[in-house]
Symmetry: C2
DNA sequence: CTGAAAGCGCTTACAG
DNA sequence: CTGAAAGCGCTTACAG
């Protein structure tokens, strides 16, 4: 049966016949030429070139169990944090001779599980970014294929963690110093380790500094979700808000602008990731999560695991870095600001009543 | 030989033994269940689930000549246009049972060529988004593997084009109606078909409406590039600018804000793509490029090509859609605006002289 | 409807 | 140094 109208590729047998050697010899001429005499290698290479032969990677993968492929699974390609991370990972994998599969789980636990299963046979290992999957399932997959997790702290699994405890604590301190005494933290998916870590960091910092803190959930970390939670945010009376990431922070700022509230005059906003932060106006106070570096390091860690026979579990930590910019500041005073805030409060109250 | 310390994945033989059927039957239960009785299929499926069996795609690929993989190659994962496109494509590929390889050419022609070569053996076809590669090389790759191009109009190659001629013409008309008589178009990579198309559309619309138009190059379509060209932009005296995409438009707006110039009061700005446009403030007047749909359609077109024996070259066009928002408007008059613009002009002049 | 068997293109112990 | 042969995990005509 002809598989397609495309030209069929030359096989190892055709080269063997042409060169007058065995298929084993042709194989060695490509994968272990040092086992052969120079003459044999040359003869085989000449035939290969004549026939346009290139070793079939699929057959090689089936035979050796090594594919030269890595799968990269993220919850949302559209989120700048993940696209930056993918960019770093992809480039590093390519530099090390590996090709990358891309899986977008769409923040969906079941889909994440399916992708891992489906790709397992075709890759030498996985990089699983910010998994939403439960620990047990991750362990199950890790038992079958080398797997490096990003931003999830699971014992016995190689992982790379962007630690934002220090930087979020610093962010709270920064806000305290600006005079804020009531703050909100707008979080993301429950299953997100980063979210848990940040919520906790902000909570204990709030304790430490003796300020009031309200926790709000955005569910999915997106611009829309950030925008949608502005109502609940304002009803808390917070004058400063820390968001799980820049996207949510941006959404919050948009939502505030729609109510004619200004940043940082009426409310200070802090994000996290530092991908879109400098493109915003006002530029966003945030935490640099070193996304591209994190992606590249994950690949390094995975390849290191692959090259070792012993399964060593490594735990690498990258520290987030607090960066103060223009979206945080002291509260604006004066009559105008007061009027603005009162009006916004009115709108919120109306919204609440209409429900 | 044991390939690694990982547990070996379940194979078709293990399932066959467990279910008490032949390997052929297990195979059919997954690839052609309609050939089997319902009972047999259920029995096999149950065993498969119990053993955690997933058909090995590599073995399947070797046997059938079809890998179930598609490679997606883009110039820049970080660009929202491409990440949205990838998202659409990835989801559609997954829905149709295909896994996707990801290649980021980093706007680099040679790298694009290498990626195509390296992945060719492992995929059933390619989706090549906004290639920077020359036509001859694209043709060479298309001769070996089915290939669908996005946003490049190459005869005899299946392609999907986002046509923005109508919408950019409309954008110019929109600006003319607002009273603008001098405009600029800030373009992107020379090799970008979209860029050429838009530049041309704007040029002929300018002729048609009898207005003055200046063309500026941003080289790489990015926020930074947009920001960097604000100097040359202002020195043209343009009161409205159309950018190759939203990213560049956003950069321009940032650059203007840094000079204390407001949008649209001092300058009107139009972008293209409509991915980040609604997240901006002021919300960006732009052209919706239907990115996700474009990605999904490209996959459909490729799979359609794959399922046909005859190599039919299709040319699908998706029309961009002009959307007026808050970043375009009439020029602000009054003394304050005049002062602002004069100051900016001064700064520009100083910059120009210091070179 | 189901099974036995050949085959996809390669690699790799095992002999010689 | 080289070859014969088994095997990687699946699919698919061919029988029955």
């Amino acid at each position: 049966m002809i598989k397609s109208d495309k030209a069929r590729a030359a096989t190892i047998s055709m080269v063997a016949d042409d060169a007058g050697v065995s298929r084993a010899t042709v194989s060695r001429a490509f994968s272990n030429p040092e086992l052969l005499t120079k003459e044999t290698v040359e003869k085989v290479r000449a035939s290969a070139i004549r026939l346009g032969y290139v070793p079939n990677q699929v057959a090689r993968a089936l035979s050796t169990g090594r594919s030269g492929n890595i799968a990269l699974i993220v919850p949302d390609i559209g989120n700048p944090f993940f696209s930056a991370l993918m960019r770093g990972a992809q480039a590093q994998a390519y530099a090390r001779g590996y090709a990358t599969f891309l899986g977008d789980s769409d923040e969906n636990e079941a889909l994440e599980d399916l992708l891992l299963g489906k790709l397992a046979a075709q890759v030498d290992g996985f990089v699983l970014a910010s998994p939403r999957l439960d620990e047990q399932r991750i362990r199950a997959h890790a038992a079958l294929k080398p797997l490096v997790v990003i931003n999830r702290d699971i014992a016995d699994i190689s992982r790379i963690l962007v630690d934002t405890v220090g930087s979020f604590t610093q962010a709270v301190k920064h806000l305290v110093e600006l005079g804020h005494t009531t703050m909100a933290y707008v979080g993301g998916p429950k299953a997100s380790w980063s979210n848990q870590q940040r919520a906790q960091a902000v909570t204990s910092a709030a304790h430490q500094y003796g300020i009031r803190l309200v926790l709000i959930d955005a569910v999915r970390p997106s611009h829309e979700a950030g925008r949608a939670c502005v109502g609940s945010l304002l009803s808390t009376g917070a004058t400063a808000v820390l968001a799980i990431d820049d996207l949510v922070a941006q959404g919050i700022i948009s939502g505030l602008a729609a109510l004619n509230l200004s940043v940082p005059g009426d409310i200070s906003v802090v994000g996290c990731d530092n991908i879109i932060a400098t493109t915003m106006y006002p530029s966003l106070t945030t935490v640099d999560a070193h996304c591209a570096e994190t992606g590249a390091k994950a690949i390094d860690l995975l390849l290191q695991t692959l090259s070792q026979q012993s399964q060593s579990q490594d735990r690498k930590v990258i520290n987030g870095e607090f960066i103060a910019r223009a979206s945080t500041g002291p509260l604006a005073h004066g009559e105008e600001a007061f009027t603005r805030r009162s009006k916004a409060a009115e709108v919120i109250e109306q919204l609440a009543n209409s429900k």
